[in-house]
Amino acid sequence: MTGLRILEISNLTKSYGAVKAVNDVSIHIDRGEIAGLIGPNGSGKSTFFDCSTGLGRPDSGTVKLDGQDITGWSLNRIAREGRMLRSFQKTVVFKSLDIEENLIIAGQMFTFPSLFSTFGLGRLSRDRVSALRDRARELIKMAGLWDVRHQRAGNLSGGQQKLIQFASMLMPEPKLILLDEPMAGINPKIIERVVDTILYANKSLGVSFLIIEHNIDVVTSICQRVIVLDQGQKLVEGLPQDIINDQRVREAYLGG
């Protein structure tokens, strides 16, 4: 069944010792939607992300991607077979490799049918890599990084590295992208480019998004729906403008 919901997470719970970092949270993402996930520091956003994408294992609850139960799958399998990709706050690029290589790596496991086929050096293998290189170059152009495409990714600015990460995530034609604070620590000019890229991917490529973000202007301008977490629980969800005016959300942020 290819329903309306691309991602459906039910009753997700994760504890560290006595602390319930995520407590019985249920959310869903509709096909083609850009949803925001906000909440004060320590509200469990990152743990929730990790448990939904296979980096951590939830204690209980289920994660369904496109109707398929993917609870307990590893990060690499969710990426490869589910085409649900995620970004990280800090680790963004393969630093000692150039931009083109970064993007080719990001696409390889989606082009090669098996692990053993990646050891091939034959015609087929070369053709696959050159197709990836073409796509990588297209995306590099789109991200406005053409002039620096042979630079080591680690030499570029934080904002440029984030752009590389976005381009990388578009290599495999993903269904759903989860972004962990994509705007943190980058300058306003690049924020605009990141926003443009997200909107382009959403409108032209049909990618759905779930975005953790502290920059409230960005959240209200691009998200169609916002979910608020507080102390490991879902506090409220709704339209962006309703959320900013919600008394409970204000109290949560102000620690009231």
Binding site: N76, F94, L97, G120, V129, S168, P172
Partner: protein, 328 residues
């Protein structure tokens, strides 16, 4: 203006192909030019290059520091020795079998070991060498304990009526050179494949590699097995060269030598490993002139390496290569 242009075009002539041919010619002529003792040292260097190549796949390309190479080297040596002494199988079967046995044994050893984090993994791989030696010493019915296996025949090739035994040092040199070149080509093919790119991604950042769909755990296991297979082939060659195998083949010293070759030569580069095996095995042989000071001098050389060549000799080789290639 025109003068400088002329000198530049002269400078930028690409001499890499002729240079490579000269190196190959030197390698082919070495036994004719050098003394038997030097040729012996070169054979040892070529033998150690095999486990070093394997280790480079692991340390240099995948980012896993391992001290287990001597264990797989020993397994390869014993596998060949036992096959040759017990069943009388020819060299070319033993050498392949040794690679396969070492590679296959790396699977059950790698599954628990690779679950460990960096430092614990290193300690665990060190354990393999010690356990290997203990087994070789104490499983007397199979390995003859400290007596070891002797009378392993020199490589013998037979094709119909033609047969040839690789008995002399010079002949063995060519055999080791041929296997060394094949192994270098094999590493080159692995590294240049898309899998090689995935290995580098794992070395750079394992979590990020996972997030782009790379099954890092399975890659690490496969590379661990491949590196063991290279060591196994090296061990086999060692057994057939020395014609004896003893529990001392499982030696920590060998693991560190292989690691020094890789780190000193330049981890993550193929030329670095080739150069490193010649340099560091050559160095231990050359230092035999001062037996009392040998280890001290060796240690001093390593200190120099650590302080002045932090990335091994790879940057030096790279610069030389670019210079020969005519790049400015």
């Amino acid at each position: 203006m025109s003068l400088t242009e002329v000198s530049q075009t002269q400078q930028s002539r690409d001499l890499r192909l002729p240079f490579g041919l000269v190196l190959l010619a030197l390698a082919l002529c070495a036994p004719l030019l050098a003394s038997t003792y030097v040729v012996h040292a070169l054979i040892i260097a070529l033998i150690f290059m095999l486990p070093a190549h394997g280790l480079n796949l692991l340390v240099g390309y995948t980012g896993l520091l391992s001290l287990a190479q001597a264990a797989f080297f020993g397994i390869g040596a014993y596998a060949s020795g036992l096959l040759a002494v017990t069943y009388g199988t020819p060299f070319y079967i033993n050498v392949i079998a040794s690679g396969l046995v070492a590679g296959a044994l790396a699977l059950p050893l790698g599954i628990p070991a690779l679950r460990l984090r960096s430092t614990s993994f290193v300690m665990c791989t060190l354990g393999f060498v010690i356990i290997g030696q203990a087994i070789a010493k104490n499983w007397i019915s199979l390995t003859r304990g400290d007596m070891g296996l002797s009378g392993i025949p020199k490589p013998h090739f037979a094709l119909g009526p033609l047969s040839f035994t690789v008995s002399g040092t010079m002949a063995f040199y060519y055999l080791a050179l041929a296997i060394g070149i094949l192994a270098t080509l094999a590493v080159w093919m692995i590294v240049r494949s898309p899998a090689g790119r995935n290995m580098i991604a794992i070395r750079e950042n394992e979590t990020l590699a996972e997030s782009v769909g790379i099954p890092t755990w399975r890659y690490k296991l496969i590379v661990f097995m491949l590196s063991a297979a290279f060591a196994g082939v090296g061990g086999s060659l060692y057994a057939h060269y020395l014609t004896v195998v003893s529990p001392l083949t499982f030696q920590m010293y060998y693991s560190t030598t292989m690691l020094i070759i890789v780190l000193g030569g330049g981890a993550g580069t193929i030329s670095g490993v080739v150069f490193g095996s010649l340099l560091f095995v050559g160095l231990t042989e050359a230092l035999r002139v001062t037996p009392e000071l040998r280890m001290i001098a060796y240690g001093l050389c390593l200190l120099v390496l650590v302080f002045w060549f932090k990335q091994g000799f790879a940057p030096v080789i790279n610069r030389l290569w670019n210079f020969i290639g005519g790049a400015k």
